[in-house]
């Protein structure tokens, strides 16, 4: 039974993003561990990626001198995002006990200091970190503390968020703070064609040829591929489906996801998107409004043109245009 919504927890089930994974490990394994902000749209596989990175076998393979590293994972949603205290208490609980401090800040600092003195490197993996940066209960001092730890000790953060962290800040001082300077942003895009086919085959047990057809039409989004797989598993002979039927069956699976993606766009992005739906190139001066879709891989940018990543997405845009869904302020 394929559950497209469930993150992949087992490393063996995680497919793709090899280049990104390598880059993340090269950063956290640098002479001085470097922080990385992985940015990916909803259902792009951020949580699965973080679970994969933190899996002991994976780190052992990709991180030189892995015995020196301590990787701790934390999800920044719900409880942790309630207040700085709840977040820091959660983090403190993941670190080796220290001699204790007057407060969480002090205790964490001592733990990190001791790890650093012992030649250890700490990597804190923070899933859904946008819950923290977009929460006004987290003051500037909180982020300054995190930055100061990374500046002074062998410590790196790997965060995931659905937008650049800075763009999600609600406090101006935080947004302008140098905290975000410590991060290298990496965008979680689509899979390569081969990775997409492999994921489909592994997840569904269906054939290579069908995998190629599905990936070519839906696009190589891991969520869409699993969604398509789950739907096709209900067909008696999915391999034998003619192209038109395949598209007819899969479009209703993909459309709600595309709709969600479009709903998060700024109003200025809708006008250039209308041009794409009409089969035209958007005005070059408006292309930058589509940058988030380009970064997520839904649009492919060439020198001065932008096109859809899959026929399914183009079909969705056309239908959305007809239904006046792309009408915005732009």
């Amino acid at each position: 039974m394929i559950d497209p919504e469930a993150p992949v927890r087992e490393p063996s089930g995680f497919i793709g993003q090899a280049g990104l994974v390598r880059r993340v490990f090269s950063r956290i394994g640098a002479d001085r561990p470097q922080s990385v902000a992985v940015i990916g749209g909803k259902k792009s596989g951020k949580t699965s990626l973080l679970a994969y990175i933190s899996a002991p076998g994976v780190a052992a393979r990709l991180l030189e001198g892995v015995e020196r590293f301590l990787l701790v994972s934390m999800c920044a949603d719900c409880e942790a995002a309630k207040s700085p205290e709840s977040f820091l208490a959660g983090l403190e609980g993941l670190l080796p006990a220290s001699a204790g401090g007057a407060n969480h800040y002090e205790s964490i600092r001592k733990s990190i200091e001791e790890l650093h003195a012992a030649g250890r490197r700490l990597v804190v993996l923070l899933d859904d970190f946008h819950f923290i940066t977009s929460n006004e209960r987290f003051p500037l001092e909180f982020f300054s503390f995190l930055r100061s730890m990374a500046n002074n000790y062998n410590l790196a953060y790997v965060t995931t968020s659905f937008l650049e962290l800075q763009k999600l800040c609600v406090i101006k001082d935080v947004q302008e703070s140098p905290f975000f300077n410590i991060f290298t942003n990496m965008h979680l895009g689509m899979l390569s064609n081969d990775e997409a086919k492999l994921l489909f085959v592994r997840a569904t047990g269906m054939g290579d040829e069908l995998a190629g057809r599905v990936a070519a039409w839906c696009g190589s989004s891991p969520f869409l591929l699993k969604k398509a797989g789950a739907r096709l598993a209900r067909e008696k002979a999915p391999d034998a489906l003619p192209e038109a039927n395949l598209e007819r069956i899969l479009f209703p699976e993909a459309a709600p996801y595309f709709e969600e993606v479009i709903s998060l766009l700024p109003p200025e992005a809708l006008k250039p998107l209308q041009s794409i739906a009409r089969g035209k190139s958007p005005d070059p001066s408006e292309i930058h409004h589509l940058s988030s879709l380009v970064k997520q891989g839904f649009l492919v940018e060439t020198e001065d043109a932008v096109s859809c990543f899959s026929p399914a997405f183009l079909l969705f845009l056309r239908k959305a245009l007809a239904a006046r869904m792309l009408k915005g302020k732009g």
Partner: protein, 600 residues
Amino acid sequence: MGTIEELLRRRKELLQEIDAEILKNHTREVTLLFTDIVGSTRFYERMGDIAGRQMVQTHNDLLFPLIESFGGRIIKTIGDSIMASFADPVRAVTCTVEMQKAIRAYNEEPSAANRFQVRMGLHFGRAVVDERDLFGDAVNTAARVESRAQGDEILVSGAVEERVESAGVPIVFLGKGEVKGKEDPLDFYLVNWQDLDEETLRGSWRAREKKEPQAPPADQAAQAAQAAPRTAARGPRVEITAGIDTNRELAALPPQPSRGNPYLNRVMIPHPGMFFGRKALVRRIMSRLSAQSPQSISLVGERRIGKSSLLNHLRSPKARHETLEAPDSCLFLFLDFQQTRALEPGQFFSLIFSELRRQQAGRIALDLPADDDGMRLLCEAIAAAGLRLAFLFDEFECVTKNEKIRPEFYSFLRSLANAFPVCFITASGHDLKDMCASHAISDSPFFNIFSVQRVGLFQREDAVDLVCGPSEARGIPLAPVSDRILEMGGVHPFFLQVACAAWFEHLETVNRGAEDLRGEPTPRDVIEAFRQEARPHFEFIVENLPPEEREILLTCAGGGNADASEPAVQNLEARGYLLRTGAEPVLFSAEFREFLRRRK
């Protein structure tokens, strides 16, 4: 059977015979060594039993073979301590020196899993031999000597010193010290294997002895307690316990990292060997610091231009050694105020004192009230010791914007700079006067003590050094594509690092030399990697500019010219977004131009 007198006499003789027998056949003169890993109990507690045991194993693997190679015999280990004996005192001392050197070499390895320090003590005397073990006063004394050592130290008793003094081993007399269970104080000597300043060592020993007095007998303690006034709380205290030895600090610098992508520096650059450029600015700052009365400087620069790294670099032994006339006479204290925006003056002083204790551990001992008086006492002590103190205040606008701090506070800081050999080197995003909580503060004469130095773009030769040096050292030289890198990132230290990182990563992945790419277009993944990282910063720059300045940049991106005489253009030049290479100012990077062009 004789009389009782004869029997007692016989008994005495027998005991003497037995003692003589024991002395002759069951004791011997040995040099006894005790070692102990410093802080191991806490290490076990924090890091767990397995990591702790692993550390002890590393320690054993490192030291056991050395002891044996110098003719020593390991009597036993007790937890993480070693007890060993040597027949030859000279070889014993030489062995301990080699042991400390081996530990230092291990700790300096970048791959060292668990770094540790060991204290060592040696004593010479006669010990009772029981099978493989040794007993007696000499053993106890050796253990006591070791317990008085600190990490990395080798202490020896006078008995050892007498036997090695002619052997050319560098030994420093520290002083006499009480030893539990011994009536007479013992002479303590230090094997100066690190070639440290002798006066400094003795000063440190005296401070240690004062701090750790031997517990007096119970009745003596009671008398002392009675004699002491009831309100004998310790008064304010500042002690300069050790001098500055820049050469030694320089020699003790860990080796420069040697693997991986050297351009991944998104945090403050920690190693002075990885700090590039700013030579003229560093010299200028240090010359102000060396002036008869050290001068305060306000460093002003944009985000990501490298202010924190520069400030941090100033205190490095490399910068001090290269640019200060008297590097051993200047103390630095680095403080980042990012995290502490709402400090009150008392907390400000408290932070200074605690950081001074932490950053200058072993050099300054202080116990001061967190107020003006405490601060003044500190400055007096610095002056009395013939030193000067430079406060390196990063993100100092967090203080000047703090409404809890009143103008009098700044007047007080100014009075310190006027009266003592003290100066402030601050870093901020804008002129401090423009970033004050009130007019009363911005009008304060405190700001008059500063000369403002802009931290701007690199000089081209500094940029070329950054592109070529680290990549060459890691075996993937970027020199053949340095022009392209400079065009991409400009001579901006951050964007240059981003461009170098992208190129280095590409060449490492495709396993090709930059030389092979001459004549080929810049690889797509290099451009993508650069844009992915640089664009959010470009966006931030543009979105936070005044509309007039933004318009100038957009005009330049569209091929138009900027009027160099306009103040807005000059401001953009000062901030490093426009660069004057010829008559007209141009955008600092081709990628920035491309970003603006698309935005336009």
